[in-house]
Symmetry: C2
Subunit: 109 residues, 2 copies
DNA sequence: TGACTATGTGATTATATACTCATATAATAA
DNA sequence: TTATTATATGAGTATATAATCACATAGTCA
């Protein structure tokens, strides 16, 4: 059986995973890998309402994936945990694997 | 603006991330890193109903994180994408960072 | 064959999440 | 001061997810 310690760890890890479990949040992290950006530029880049983007950003900040600083009127967000990007490539590997599996299946029909 | 290609990629990546965005599913993946297991042993280890575990397992299989084989009555699950484990350590790094931040904050009070 | 065991699934309910709109806050400039 | 701009947040609605229970399926063995 799981210990309480492990349960807590898994709970916290799940929160981080959940924070990047949304296409727009993935797009945000991907955008920020090339440099810091303000909310309005992020919103324009991913094509969504600023209010919506603001909420997505606060989820990512809450989990320690992003951090921000204020510069005049603007709030600039940046990647705090770049190791997240490694996970992105792991997911891409998964997807390639799946695509290859499907290809093999198709060839067998 | 995002291209359609990128949108699709982010959508698929979000699905994989979502598949591990649950404490029980994290516990399952963590359990399977030490070797293949059947549903009933997984259910006992994580302390949840078999029907519930079965559903969580099918989510993970659906995203290519796990795969399974049948052995008699039992269905044995194993880790198909071990790179997921690297992400676990990234998340642990995030959590340590957050804990340190909190410590610094506390010390400043 | 029938009994038993492991697993999966349909239906239901409770809860969580995402999005939109309207509004609030805060910094800046006229 | 007022107006403007960037950002954040409350409320409401729609949708997605998780857990439970009952039942179905499928493999094994007497």
């Amino acid at each position: 059986m799981l210990t309480k310690k492990k349960r807590l760890l898994f709970q916290k890890q799940a929160e981080i995973a959940k924070s990047i479990s949304h296409p727009l949040r993935i797009a945000i992290v991907d955008f920020l890998k090339d440099g810091d950006q303000c909310v309005c530029d992020i919103a324009e880049h991913i094509g969504s309402e600023r209010s919506n983007v603001s909420r997505h950003l606060s989820v990512l900040v809450g989990c320690g994936v992003l951090e921000y600083r204020k510069e005049g009127l603007k709030v600039i967000y940046n990647l705090k945990a770049p190791c997240i990007l490694d996970f992105f490539s792991c997911m891409t590997t998964c997807l390639k694997q799946q695509a290859e599996d499907n290809e093999r299946l198709l060839a067998a029909l």
